[in-house]
C-alpha cells in the first residue's frame, strides 16, 4: 500500500457559512420532496387498484363466487346501504352482502383484524346470517412465523375447517376433537395464530351478528 493522506471530504476554505449549510440541506430536501410527491402520484393508482383487486378476489373466494354484491355501512348499530352524505366512507366499517345469479342473498363478507403472534392479522370471512354458519375464511395480511404461524394462511386443511362451521367457533386440539359442528382444529405449533383467527371471527360476529340478522329480516 502506498503512503496516503487521511481520507478527507472535499473542502474549500476553512469556514463554511451557516447559510450555505442551510441552503444545501434545504435545497436538497425540497428537491427530494418534489421527487417523492411525483413518484407517489404516479404509483398510488396502481397501489390502490391492487388493494381493491385483492378485496374483490377475497369476496369472491369466501362467498363462493357471488354474481354481485352490495356494500353496506355500519352506522348507529344498523346496516345501511346508503350512509348520509356527510359521513366519511373511508372510515366507516363495511360489510359486503353477496347475491347469486337469481338475486338471492348468499351471505355476508366481513373483514376483521386483531393482533396475532407477531403483528396484526387481517382476514375476511363469509357468513350466512340465517344459518349462522361461516362460509369460508381467507387471511388478507399477516406476518406470522414462516413455517409455523403462517399456516393459518398456507395450510389448506386449516382454511377448509372454516367452511360451514357454526358459530361461535371453538378452537380445539386435533386430539380432543369431539366432532361438534362449531369445532375447528387448531394448528399445532401455531396456537396463538390459530386462536387469533378464531377470535377475530367470533368477536366480529358477537358485535355485528344481531345487526346482520336484523338487516336480513327487514329485507324480506
Amino acid at each position: 500500500m502506498s503512503p496516503r493522506k487521511l481520507p478527507q471530504a472535499p473542502q474549500k476554505g476553512a469556514e463554511v457559512s451557516a447559510w450555505r449549510l442551510l441552503a444545501t440541506l434545504g435545497g436538497a430536501g425540497a428537491l427530494a420532496g418534489f421527487l417523492l410527491v411525483f413518484v407517489y402520484q404516479v404509483t398510488q393508482p396502481a397501489i390502490q387498484a391492487y388493494k381493491a383487486k385483492v378485496l374483490r378476489e377475497s369476496i369472491q373466494e369466501v362467498l363462493k363466487g357471488p354474481a354481485r354484491w352490495d356494500t353496506l355501512y355500519v352506522l348507529d348499530d344498523a346496516l345501511t346501504p346508503a350512509p348520509p352524505a356527510d359521513a366519511n366512507l373511508a372510515t366507516l366499517e363495511r360489510v359486503f352482502l353477496g347475491y347469486d345469479e337469481a338475486g338471492d342473498p348468499m351471505g355476508f363478507a366481513i373483514t376483521g383484524a386483531e393482533p396475532g403472534y407477531q403483528d396484526i392479522i387481517e382476514l375476511i370471512f363469509g357468513y350466512d346470517a340465517e344459518s349462522q354458519l361461516v362460509l369460508g375464511m381467507k387471511v388478507l395480511s399477516m406476518k406470522e412465523t414462516p413455517g409455523l404461524g403462517d399456516k393459518i394462511e398456507k395450510d389448506s386443511a386449516f382454511v377448509a375447517e372454516f367452511e360451514g362451521v357454526s358459530t361461535p367457533i371453538a378452537g380445539v386440539k386435533p386430539t380432543r376433537a369431539t366432532g361438534a359442528a362449531n369445532e375447528v382444529d387448531m394448528i399445532s405449533g401455531a396456537t396463538i395464530s390459530s386462536r387469533t383467527v378464531i377470535a377475530i371471527i367470533n368477536h366480529k360476529l358477537e358485535r355485528l351478528g344481531p345487526m346482520l340478522q336484523r338487516y336480513m329480516e327487514e329485507r324480506t
Binding site: 472535499p10 463554511v16 427530494a32 417523492l36 412465523t145 413455517g147
Partner: protein, 218 residues
C-alpha cells in the same frame, strides 16, 4: 487522493475480493433477514443495487457542492429519497414481493454498505469511477444474498425459485427459513470461504518454498 486503483479494480473488487457481506461483513441485517427464499433475495439485492447506484451517481456529481460539515445528512437525504422511490415502485409493480420484504425495504436507508461507499469512495472520486464501484459492490451484495437465499430455500422449502426439487417425500428443514437458519447459513458460508482462502495461501507458500528449493538444487 486515496490509494490508486484502476477502473477495473473499482469494478471487480466489490464483487468478490472485498465482497460487502462475505468479506467486509457489512449489511448483515438484510442478508440474514430477507434471504429465506431466492425471490426475496433477488428483490432485496436489486432494490439495494438501485439505491446504491443512484446515490453514488448523485454524491459523486455534487460532491463539490456539499459542504463537508453536512455531508452525512446530505448522503442520508439522497439515500432515503431513492429508498422511498423503490418502496413505492415495488408496492405498485410487484405487491407480493413488497409484502414479503416488509420493513426491510425502508431499512435500506440505514444499510451501512450504501452509506459506507458514499463516504469512502463516491465522495472522493469521479462520477464514472463511483458508478463502477457502485456496480461492483451492488453485484457483490446480490451474489451474497443469492448464496444465502439459495441455500436456505433449498433446505428450508425443498425448492429453488419456487420449483420443488426433491419430490413430495422431502421433509422441509424449517429451521433454515427461520431466523436461526440465517445465522447458520452465513456461519457455514464464512467457514467454507475462510477454509478455502487459508488453503490457497498455504499452497502459495508451499509453491514458493518448492521454488526456492529447486533454485538451490540447481
Amino acid at each position: 487522493m486515496p490509494r490508486k486503483t484502476t477502473p477495473r479494480q473499482d469494478l471487480t473488487r466489490g464483487v468478490w475480493r472485498e465482497n460487502p457481506v462475505l468479506i467486509q461483513m457489512l449489511g448483515l441485517c438484510p442478508a440474514l433477514a430477507v434471504t429465506n427464499t431466492v425471490v426475496n433475495a433477488i428483490a432485496m439485492g436489486l432494490a439495494t443495487f438501485f439505491v446504491l447506484f443512484f446515490s453514488s451517481l448523485l454524491v459523486a456529481t455534487f460532491k463539490r457542492l456539499i459542504p463537508s460539515e453536512v455531508r452525512i445528512s446530505a448522503y442520508i437525504l439522497i439515500i432515503a429519497t431513492f429508498v422511498t422511490i423503490v418502496d413505492m415502485t415495488l408496492e405498485a409493480v410487484v405487491p407480493e414481493i413488497h409484502k414479503a420484504l416488509g420493513a426491510f425495504i425502508a431499512l435500506i436507508v440505514v444499510n451501512c454498505i450504501i452509506l459506507g461507499r458514499q463516504e469512502a469512495f463516491a465522495s472522493k472520486n469521479t462520477v464514472p469511477r463511483a458508478l463502477l464501484d457502485a456496480v461492483g459492490t451492488g453485484f457483490g451484495f446480490i451474489i451474497a444474498l443469492l448464496l444465502m437465499g439459495g441455500i436456505r430455500e433449498i433446505f428450508g422449502y425443498g425448492s429453488f425459485l419456487g420449483f420443488p426439487l426433491f419430490g413430495a417425500n422431502y421433509e422441509p428443514w424449517i429451521i433454515f427459513i427461520l431466523p436461526p437458519g440465517g445465522f447458520f447459513t452465513i456461519g457455514f458460508i464464512l467457514l467454507a470461504l475462510n477454509w478455502w482462502q487459508r488453503r490457497q495461501e498455504e499452497r502459495a507458500k508451499a509453491a514458493e518454498l518448492a521454488e526456492v528449493a529447486v533454485g538451490r538444487a540447481a
